[in-house]
């Protein structure tokens, strides 16, 4: 059967191989196993271009979804899902403040992603070990081991993990695990034209975020704060910190983020104790009832 010539276009890379430590050129960080890496998303410079969404879909070969208009402003992706590992939220903040300059928009934009929690509830809930922590301190689903039980879906306090209707397995952002292994910056961070999404070593990112927060406060944006950094909102309930954390300028609920997320595993002991106490209580009540009758 004759094939169209385009089929063989660019079938082989023009380069001899990978550029060694390419992330050093694009993100200023050398990726080494055994260190913690993450994202710092500065929502104050997000312009809602969705380049991150497209880059993610392109690199990870994810099917397109969210076709058509939803009626929710410019947001046609609507939420993170098994096929959308990056989601740019468009939040209309209502009538523009009279004090705002005419060129200032009344929109909040935020590129949401898996938080790669330090104590990841999805990983704790996974019965097969398909979810694991990588050598880069990120959380990844191994597709060949996932049995699609779905325990990770309700365990995630951020509603990130999702089961695909096509293959029946759990999917979420891998923080481009394959790219990290090749010394490449994650696709979304590399594509971001305003550096709203910054990739790097976690400690350095947290310092950079604190400097940015202080700078914004100095410039009069006093409502800027970090979400998911150690000791801040979003890093509660035993999560300790999020490897993908954010700089926000409105309450977490405005971005559909929980103010104080918790680990379901922390509720196992109280639930078990409550269950045992109930059984014992019923047993004592039944015993006293039968003893009285006798």
């Amino acid at each position: 059967m004759e094939m169209h010539p385009r089929v063989l276009d660019h079938a082989v890379s023009d380069l001899d191989g990978l550029i060694a430590d390419e992330a050093e050129l694009t993100a200023g960080v050398r990726i080494r196993p055994g260190r913690s890496y993450g994202f710092f998303t500065d929502t104050t410079v997000c312009i809602g271009c969705k380049a991150c969404e497209v880059a993610c879909k392109e690199w990870n070969n994810l099917p397109a979804d969210g076709i058509g208009l939803t009626g929710h402003s410019y947001d046609n992706t609507t939420a993170l899902s098994a096929d959308s590992w990056r989601h740019v939220k468009f939040i209309e903040t209502g009538v523009r403040d009279d004090m705002a300059q005419p060129f200032q928009s009344g929109w909040l934009m935020m590129s949401d992603v898996c938080k790669h929690c330090h104590n990841a509830p999805c990983l704790e809930a996974c019965p097969t070990g398909a979810l694991f922590r990588t050598e880069f301190d990120t959380v990844v689903v191994q597709q060949d081991i996932c049995n699609g039980c779905g325990y990770c879906v309700p365990a995630c306090p951020f509603g990130v993990v999702d089961i695909s209707l096509l293959d029946g397995k759990a999917h979420k952002c891998t923080l481009c695990y394959d790219r990290l292994k090749g010394g490449l910056e994650p696709a979304c961070a590399k594509a971001c034209p305003t550096d709203s999404i910054q990739f790097g070593e976690l400690g350095e990112l947290q310092e950079r975020a604190r400097r940015r927060e202080a700078e914004l406060h100095r410039r009069g944006v006093t409502n800027a704060y970090l979400y998911g950094a150690p000791g801040e909102a979003g890093a509660t309930g035993g999560l300790e910190h999020l490897n993908a954390f954010f700089l926000l300028t409105a309450q977490p609920e405005t971005y559909n983020l929980p103010r104080a997320p918790t680990r379901p595993a922390d509720r196992v002991a109280p639930s078990l104790a409550a269950g045992i106490a109930t059984v014992l209580g019923l047993a004592v009540a039944a015993l006293s009832l039968f003893t009285r009758r006798a």
Partner: protein, 74 residues
Amino acid sequence: MQSIVGTMVIAQEGRFQLLDRDGVGHQFLLHYGSAVEPDQLPPLLNRRVRVSYRSAVTAHIIGHAAVHIDLLED
């Protein structure tokens, strides 16, 4: 079940892309009932295959679930 012939150009985990004879790309995920494992996909790169598939179960996904993959003679 529908089928399509093309060249596999990208394979990643259980996902792959097929280019048909007109150069149009088609996205596939391995169906949960497929006997094909994700690690069997990379050897099929740049090879001509016939994929039997089911269309996406929801209308808002441009993707298909591949059930069978047959390697064709080059």
